[in-house]
């Protein structure tokens, strides 16, 4: 052990980050034209950003409390449905070709989605998860049960059929840059995703709250011994993560232009792949993993549509062979 003079400088692990451009460049020779590649890359990044929003809460909750919430997907679907109710009620201002009118519908929809998903998260933490702390088996079972029940309740409240959800006028359509058609909505998704990531990064690295969260992910007991109630912290993170998943749900529903009760469950599979790739509990890993998965899905979706999800499983296996605990392994094993 070295003590005395200089320590080795803390090296940020750039390698996993380099995977993102590496995958994008590796896809380039296979895709016939540059504009198509640009379109696909933007689509992949947009998809990745949305996945990141949905997954961020899941990974933080796991890191902080060692809880894997298999029902996290319901926050996505509940958010999507809540927003749909608001947007369909405000149809007129959705269809108006004015940004202000569109925003007047979208802002309340997003707020409703986040509020409802956050509230559901709070309820879930209190009623479903709290009694099974420390017992992984029961956690998985109980949260699966929660998933079933909420999915069924969605059917009761919103009906079993798929609800079409047209995008507001101002963010429909696409524009051309250098021959590449880029959908406006995708650009919006990338911007929102970046904003969310930046906000999370700032909170985690520049505030006392973030310091507490990062410390809690490493060593819960020690944070308690320093006089902080980790429970309170955890409930807050859980609610925020659920609300974020709700936001992701709205974005995803508008992207798909429809909602159905299964989206939560369908997304869970993708979220798990992202978490495993990124390293359980790591927010940075979650971000990188989400972008990788989004890009991969779009390139292979174009080249060999049948293999889209399969390619991500392959990506996951390769990452695990390279780094068995994910790209950015987190403290506790």
């Amino acid at each position: 052990m070295s003590h005395g003079s200089a320590l080795p400088a803390q090296r940020f692990d750039w390698l996993p980050l380099a995977l993102i451009p590496a995958i994008a460049l590796a896809a380039l020779p296979f895709i016939p034209s540059l504009p198509t590649w640009v379109t696909l890359t933007v689509a992949g990044l947009a998809m990745g950003m949305m996945i990141f929003m949905m997954a961020a809460g899941l990974t933080l909750v796991f890191g902080l409390m060692d809880i894997m919430n298999f029902a996290h997907g319901v926050f996505i679907s509940v958010g999507a449905y809540a927003a749909t109710s608001v947007l369909l009620a405000m149809k007129a201002s959705m269809q108006a070709d004015s940004l202000a009118a569109n925003l007047a519908a979208i802002v309340p929809a997003v707020l409703a989605a986040m509020a409802l998903a956050g509230f559901l998260g709070w309820f879930f933490e209190r009623v479903v998860i709290r009694p099974v702390y420390g017992d992984h088996l029961k956690q998985i079972l109980v949260t699966m049960g929660g998933l079933i029940v909420v999915e069924q309740l969605i059917h009761v409240v919103w009906g079993p059929d798929i609800i079409p959800l047209p995008r507001p006028a101002t963010i429909t359509g696409s524009f051309i840059v250098g021959g590449a058609a880029i959908e406006r909505y995708r650009v919006l998704a990338v911007l929102v995703g970046l904003a969310v990531f930046a906000a999370m990064w700032l909170i985690l690295n520049r505030t006392r709250l973030g310091l507490l969260i990062r410390a809690g992910v490493e060593n819960r007991e020690m944070v308690e011994s320093l006089g902080y109630r980790i429970r309170t912290l955890f409930v807050g993170v859980f609610i925020a993560g659920s609300a974020l998943a709700g936001l992701g749900g709205v974005m995803w529903a508008l992207y798909q232009e429809s909602v159905n009760a299964q989206i939560g469950m369908q997304m869970m599979v993708v979220l798990f792949i992202v978490l495993i790739i990124g390293g359980l509990g790591s927010v940075g890993g979650c971000f990188v993993g989400a972008l990788l998965v989004g890009l991969m899905a779009n390139y292979t979706g174009y080249l060999a549509p049948k293999l889209a999800l399969g390619s991500n499983i392959l990506l996951m296996v390769l990452v695990l062979l390279w780094r068995p605990r994910g790209l950015f392994p987190v403290g506790r094993g």
Partner: protein, 351 residues
């Protein structure tokens, strides 16, 4: 003789013993007591799911690992039979070949998944199996040349097992002795034999090591058991059980498709059955599967009545709508995990 058959694992509760005998008698006598097509379908499904759920309980109850890939193995069995029958022709040899290939594929996959992820932790395994299973689901729907895609495949079986075949000219106890009956008894007795074999596994020294690993992984490791090896072996045996269940179901239905084998809904059904019946005892799987399959088929009728009765009350008709039966089983499931972790069988045995 009973001791040998049951591997010394007796029901240890009078009520449970009666229930088990009733299930067995119901299955064996079903063609004669409940002769309708629907009830025979229900009975065959019960037999298959008893095996499927029992093999899952080997993982969940005895080994303490949550897998979401059980329907994948179930599907491999189903598609093994289906593809062999549809592509190679309806002979006994092909039936055996299809089943054998399915079993080999399942064993290989289960070992690979086990070795890749069982050394880490329970949650990791659950997540990986979920991902792999959904990949398989997509694979099956994409390779439509082989699997028939979303529509699945229908096929013929060896002559003896087809409903059109008459085994004996004169009906017995008023029931025609057709190939359908032969098929039914093949499924029921094969499932029963596999169930008894699983009972043997869990009551062997191997089964006791699994239990001790579940109770205290660290200690078992210290005692010199290679926990990863044991868990992987359990994962393998469970997968083989599920594959056999898939083979039997494919034989019974003469159809294999995503909705009858690979669907995630079936995975959830299995979870519900094993938890409600009782984890950690194979009899729980038998009881859970029976109750669930019967509820699935008849609870909806009951709920339709209740829903109609509740007309006019806000929200209640929606909650009682026959399609919402899973809602109530989900609630029951959560209640079971919290308050009756040993399920129905555990409660019966406590008495």
């Amino acid at each position: 003789m009973f001791t040998t058959l049951l591997s010394g694992d007796f029901p240890r509760s009078r009520v449970l013993a009666v229930v088990l005998v009733a299930i067995l008698a119901g299955l064996v006598l079903a063609p004669f007591v409940f002769p309708g097509t629907r009830s025979l379908n229900v009975a065959a499904k019960v037999a298959v799911f008893v095996l499927l759920v029992a093999s899952y309980d080997l993982l969940l109850g005895y080994t303490g690992i949550v897998s979401f890939a059980h329907t994948m193995f179930f599907g491999i069995g189903g598609y093994g039979v289906g593809i062999a029958m549809a592509k190679l022709g309806a002979g006994w040899g092909n039936l055996a070949l299809g089943s054998a290939l399915a079993l080999a594929l399942s064993a290989a996959l289960a070992t690979a998944i086990g070795l890749l992820s069982l050394r880490v932790r329970a949650i990791f395994f659950a997540m990986i199996t979920l991902a792999v299973a959904s990949f398989f689901q997509i694979l099956a729907s994409q390779l439509s040349g082989f699997t028939g895609g979303e529509d699945g495949i229908t096929y013929k079986l060896p002559e003896l097992l087809l409903p059109g075949t008459k085994l004996v000219e004169t009906p017995f106890l008023g029931v025609e002795l057709s190939g359908r009956l032969a098929n039914y008894y093949l499924v029921v007795f094969a499932a029963l034999a596999c169930f008894l074999a699983l009972l043997r596994v869990v009551n062997s020294p191997f089964g006791r090591v699994l239990l001790s690993i579940r109770e205290n992984e660290f200690r078992s490791e210290a005692l010199g058991y290679r926990t990863v090896t044991y868990r992987t072996a359990a994962n393998c045996i469970g997968a083989l059980g599920a594959t056999l269940a898939g083979v039997l179901y494919a034989i019974w239905l003469r159809y294999t498709g995503p909705d009858t084998t690979l669907s995630f809904n079936i995975m959830i059904d299995i979870l519900l059955m094993v938890v409600i019946g009782g984890m950690g005892t194979l009899y729980g799987a038998a009881v859970g599967a029976t109750i669930f399959v019967i509820a699935q088929n008849y609870l909806q009728d009951l709920m339709a009545l209740a829903s109609a009765a509740a007309k006019g009350v806000p929200l209640l008709p929606g909650l009682l709508h026959p399609d919402r039966w899973l809602l109530w089983l989900g609630v029951l499931f959560i209640v079971c995990v919290y308050y009756f972790p040993t399920g129905i069988v555990g409660r019966l045995r406590e008495k």
